[in-house]
Symmetry: C2
Subunit: 341 residues, 2 copies
């Protein structure tokens, strides 16, 4: 046992608008041996997620901002390579889920690492469909939007990691119809041909109002909103009375330099008795216990399909993250780190 080399991404400047090349830096460091109660993990998969954009700002939010000059954090899976004194529940070679992403190696408290069942699904699925990404879709749809059987469900960002799962869960839970918006014809084809959406359309270049009038001519009961912005503005008039909007993300505005306009249609929420409910997945972790076996069963039986967009090597992490903000991904955006690194 001795210190091991690692590369890690630090935030060095707070982005103004789109994250620029110079806002983050890949650094080479030596990661020490774990102390008592700690383990050292060699990461094999890193998660990049839209919410990380908010952490780059110096703004109080539900997760604290990334500190300047410090390595960034985020979901990761890896292999335990050194176990510190007094750690009993982890062993060398265990595959674990933890939050020290954006790097090749990490030392962390053993309590902060959770062993995943790699027999149930590939390890990286715990960053996506079987992890908080999937739970976001599941809890957002069932607990926040309180989808009922027969509901017409509209999903934006429908080919994204969360949206694609939300739509499929809606179908499996008896939605009357599941329609989605996505950026690009290939994503739309995937939603229709593989993910079992009732209908889907490319929002790019389309008038949002026209698009949604065509997708949900008779209105929607549930809108699972991943994008905010003009799509949310257009969705509100399409909602049926007593409709429910789960505010999951607003990716259309994450790179905006000033707050984007709000929906001019919000006043309609009164007469339509709409409920708009913001949520974050960490309030719903108690659902994990039901969620994981149910979702694992759906995945095993082919009822839920998922896609991954994978980049290679820790050095690709920042670009992968920037890509997720512009829709470069279909499904979950992941960084694979060669386990032989």
């Amino acid at each position: 046992m001795s210190p091991a080399p690692s590369r890690q991404w630090s935030l060095v400047a707070r982005p103004q608008g789109e994250p620029a090349d110079g806002d983050a830096r890949l650094e080479e460091v030596d990661v020490p041996d774990p102390g008592p109660g700690e383990v050292r993990v060699r990461n094999t998969w890193l998660s990049v997620d839209p919410y990380m954009r908010g952490r780059m700002n110096d703004a109080r939010s539900y997760v604290p901002p990334f500190a300047l000059g410090e390595p960034m954090t985020g979901g990761a899976v890896g292999v335990v390579e050194v176990v510190g004194d007094g750690v009993e529940h982890l062993s060398e070679g265990d595959v674990v889920l933890h939050d020290r992403g954006w790097r090749e190696r990490a030392v962390l408290p053993a309590d902060a690492a959770r062993v995943v069942d790699a027999d149930l699904a590939p390890a990286q699925a715990y960053l996506g469909v079987l992890g908080t990404t999937g739970l976001t879709a599941y809890a957002g749809l069932l607990d926040v939007a309180q989808m009922q059987e027969g509901d017409v469900v509209l999903v934006s960002g429908a080919a994204g990691a969360v949206g694609s799962i939300a739509g499929q869960v809606a179908r499996l839970k008896g939605a009357g119809a599941v329609v989605g918006t996505a950026g690009g014809e290939d994503k739309v084809r995937w939603l229709l041909d593989d993910a079992g959406f009732t209908d889907a359309a490319d929002y790019r270049g389309a008038d949002p109002g026209d698009l949604l009038r065509r997708l949900v001519p008779d209105g929607a009961d549930v809108y699972f909103d991943n994008v905010g912005g003009p799509t949310l503005e257009a969705a509100i008039p399409r909602m049926r009375d007593h409709g429910r909007i789960a505010l999951c993300g607003a990716i259309s505005g994450y790179n905006a330099e000033s707050p984007p306009p709000g929906p001019r249609t919000l006043g309609l929420a009164i007469g339509k008795r709409l409920r708009l409910q913001g949520f974050i997945v960490t309030d719903h972790l108690a659902r994990m216990r039901e969620f994981v076996p149910e979702m694992a069963g759906w995945v095993r039986d082919g009822d839920v399909v998922y896609r991954e967009t994978v980049t290679e090597g820790v050095e690709s992490t920042y670009d992968a993250f920037r890509g997720v903000l512009t829709g470069a991904n279909t499904g979950k955006m992941l960084v694979r780190i060669d386990p032989d690194v």
Copy 2:
């Protein structure tokens, strides 16, 4: 028994922006005797309410638009003066609540008139504190916003008919603090000196963000929104995590010629896990049974105070209505019709 003269307000043009003089017309008509199952009522009090502005537009909403060339409708109380054949539960002289306002006399189905208990409160209170106005405040606060004991409650339009009741119900139900915004120093004084608000401020000429930072420095759990617009935009950042916003009205935009901007701050609803819930009182009429005795007790004991702004004569109705849209009223805006007319 013979036809009786009446004057009534008809909508003759759909207002663009502020209702203009020529958009409504006072007409003289003869009201016939009631047919079988009908009564003729001589109105004594008419209600004018902000929601009526929406009915002047030709837009599908929770209530159908007023028809052009037809007399407008709205809450009224009056005295039964002629009873048609077969009507058993109403007698001449009964004081009834009904929806044929905007006029001096009306013939209506007896089933559409409800006798009010004029011993419990003055008849016009059934258009305000003891009627759907009061119920809007009560149900919006308790059922929609689900106010809990200890909550900090913010009310906009706080000196209006609904807002002033919402704030007082909040206090009586154990709010930790009740603060309000209103238009004018006299209204603010009334909220502080008579209505028992913890704090209140004049929104006119103030920056909404500064105003609310001062009123709720540690944030609010509940926002009872009667005004929408810039105040709603400023309230969202002041909400505490898991805060609830009851969307009751958006009077700031009712006279707008195009949809006013939405709140640029809406994206904060995600991280704060806010719930914004639109509602209309007619979904909550089942609450009337508990509401009326509870509110009547509060009024009797002086725990709830209310104010009325009264104009005289049916000819004043249109101006009274226009005044309610610009805040000419404190408390309930009413038109009194001389019972000797």
